[in-house]
């Protein structure tokens, strides 16, 4: 289905990486699932896109709501089931461009926390089953939406672009909750990397496997697609060589030394002395 | 945020240690550990500035009341009143007595 409207980044990258692959049938507008390929083998690509006409009024700008959470779970679990008897599990690529979780009465009422847990569990189970799960951040990667879609990946890749950001809460809400002004928050974020919104600050935290420069993050050129595809292929090889199916890959960089130290102390103290 | 260091005369080194309280609004945590004989040192980190004299007065009363063991006291405070400070410090010493060394 083509649209004359401007595509979201998630939609643009999904199309580019799957050579305009046809989205799978039976999915809602907001969750696009394409069975494409990676390094010559089948791979499932998943993204969340905005739907201005979404029946749920609080899910019209690319948020992850109730349906999106459970549908992400479905898309991933179908893949797990399809490969259950196979020795080689196909890769799953989460193309990440999510404004936030959905904020609304319906969402709280019907348990959006549980829907996002459904998605997170599916991705985690896929990884534990041996599926290489790759998170590719092409736009916003915010809060609960990221926890549901991408943060359980074996490897995280982000584009180096002003439109790419990772955070726990939007600025206005964060300012209100911490009883500061947005300006004060931004001043703090300038010297406290974990509080910053931009992807370069995020990259200093040691959680990303790669930060990729591209020409047009919002509408990839052929060179951009090539570069990202190459990176995905490398990530796939790296995951398969790893043999570990947990998130310990995120503890390698020196920025994670405090998190590592906590784990080392726990381990040292675990057995009764 | 302010850091205050105080010292008071004390008796023999404490045996054992104690941790009480939480750094919640209007509350504080108190950590007690043994110190060398004769001296109790207090290191305070507090969210409320300009109260050093009040801390000195409150702690002098609590620690000077009867001969207490020599301890290193760490206080992390989030705006507790003198009454709450006194309560938590006394609670910490009580726990020290109760456990006798853990």
């Amino acid at each position: 289905m083509t649209s004359t409207k401007e595509q979201s980044r998630g939609a643009a990258w999904l199309a580019a990486l799957t050579a305009e692959g046809r989205p799978a049938d039976g999915y809602p507008q907001t969750v696009r699932v394409v069975d494409g390929s990676l390094a010559g083998e089948p791979a499932r690509y998943i993204t969340v896109v905005p739907d201005a006409e979404n029946p749920f009024p609080r899910v019209r700008n690319g948020e992850v709501g109730l349906i999106e959470g459970w549908t992400l779970a479905r898309a991933v679990r179908e893949t797990i089931a399809a490969d259950a008897e196979r020795a080689t599990k196909r890769p799953i690529v989460a193309v990440i461009d999510v404004t936030s979780q959905a904020y609304g009465r319906r969402e709280e009422a019907y348990g959006i926390h549980q829907a996002l847990a459904g998605a997170a569990a599916a991705y985690a189970d896929a990884r534990l089953a041996g599926h290489p799960v790759i998170g590719l951040i092409v736009g916003k990667a915010m809060s609960g939406a990221l926890l549901a879609h991408g943060y359980q990946a074996n490897r995280l890749i982000a584009l180096d672009d002003a439109g790419v950001m990772v955070h726990a809460m939007g600025k206005a809400a964060a300012a209100r909750v911490t009883l500061r002004t947005v300006e004060e928050l931004e001043a703090l974020a300038a010297t406290i990397p974990p509080m910053a919104y931009d992807i370069n600050s995020f990259a200093t935290l040691g959680l990303l496997w790669r930060l990729l420069h591209v020409e047009r993050a919002d509408a990839p050129t052929a060179t951009d697609v090539d570069r990202v595809e190459t990176c995905l292929v490398e990530a796939l090889a790296d995951i398969r060589a790893d043999r570990r199916r947990d998130l310990s890959g995120r503890l390698k960089q020196s920025a994670r030394r405090t998190s590592k130290e906590v784990r080392e102390r726990l381990r040292a103290e675990w057995q009764e002395g | 945020m302010e850091k205050i260091s105080l010292e008071f005369p004390a008796a023999a080194p404490a045996r054992g240690r104690a941790a009480v309280g939480v750094v919640g609004s209007g509350d504080l945590e108190v950590l007690l550990e043994p110190n060398t004989a004769g001296s109790t040192t207090v290191s305070i980190t507090t969210s409320v500035n300009g109260m050093a004299r009040v801390w000195e007065a409150v702690l002098a009363r609590v620690l000077g009341a009867s001969p207490l063991p020599a301890t290193k006291i760490e206080i992390n405070d989030f705006g507790a009143t003198p009454g709450v400070v006194r309560m938590r410090v006394e609670q910490a010493f009580e726990e020290l007595n109760a456990t006798g060394g853990k």
Binding site: R105, Y110, A124 | V23
Partner: protein, 281 residues
């Protein structure tokens, strides 16, 4: 309940995180890991003028429950709203990871998580969020071997990324005082407006996210009085029962079928939620 029973009750809500962990473990078995005297505090708060707590607001308590090896992760809701920072988050994730490792070596270590948290500590934003993702990963790993039991008792409740962690647990226990929801009321009001969600209307908030509503909507597994003994017994029973055949988080088909029956043009009502999920789950 008569006067004597009332007087003998110990409020679980009024206990600190450390006291809660002690109350849940077999008497005398508690041994705290990375306790306050190790002073593993947040590396990020002092420069922002926030006083650190020596245990960063998380208690890791090893011991036994029903004589089996166990670890209790108790979040101190009174410190920074129980929010997750780099150190506290790593304490929880790391302990869950070690519990899973134990199980792979034949040691049946089980975990109980006491959720009293608003989610990510915004002064550490992305590090809190990353730690929560690691907590999620560790719960999904561990629950393959042992039931992971969560409880939220109040007064803070369980919000943000940690509500997702609660949704991953094998069993969730709630009290009347507790709330379990993704977004804090103030944030929903900020994002969606006061007509959508009035953050000062307490009965309204509890009607949707309160413990009793969650229990009656099958989004929690047990509903208990605020009594340490009763809570201890409920946790024991949940651990004895083991993980369910299918975790709630794995029931996307059932939930999608239920949600297909919802008319999104209408605003949600608590009684409709209860009716839908009681029938469909």
């Amino acid at each position: 309940m008569n006067c004597e029973e009332l007087l003998q009750r110990t409020s679980f809500i009024e206990l600190s995180a450390r006291e809660r962990a002690r109350a849940l473990l077999d008497a005398g078995s508690m041994r705290e890991l990375i306790g306050p005297f190790e002073r593993m505090v947040s590396p990020w708060l002092a420069r922002q003028g926030v006083v650190t707590q020596a245990d960063d607001g998380v208690v890791v308590a090893k011991g036994r429950i029903d004589r089996e090896p166990a670890v209790v992760l108790a979040i101190e809701g009174a410190y920074q709203g129980g929010s997750m920072g780099e150190v506290g988050g790593a304490k929880i994730a790391g302990a869950l990871e070690l519990a899973a490792e134990d199980n792979r070596r034949g040691i049946p270590t089980r975990a109980v998580i006491v959720f009293e948290t608003g989610g990510v500590r915004l002064q550490e934003a992305n590090l809190g969020l990353a730690a929560i993702a690691e907590i999620h990963a560790a719960i999904v790993d561990l629950r393959r071997y042992q039931a992971v039991v969560g409880i939220t008792a109040g007064t803070v409740g369980c919000f943000g990324g940690m509500s997702i962690a609660a949704g991953l647990c094998s069993h969730m226990i709630v009290t009347q005082e507790a709330r379990l929801g993704l977004n804090g009321p103030a944030v929903i009001e900020q994002e969606a407006g006061i007509a959508e969600y009035d953050s000062r209307d307490r009965p309204f908030i509890w009607s949707f996210t309160g413990g009793e509503q969650r229990y009656r909507s099958k989004l929690a597994d047990a509903y208990v009085d605020d009594d340490a003994h009763a809570i201890r017994e409920t946790i024991r029973a949940a651990l004895r029962a083991g993980a369910p055949a299918r975790h709630r988080s794995d029931r996307h088909e059932d939930f999608l079928a239920c949600l297909a029956a919802v008319d999104p043009t209408q605003q949600a009502r608590p009684d409709a939620v209860r009716a839908l999920y009681k029938e469909g789950l």
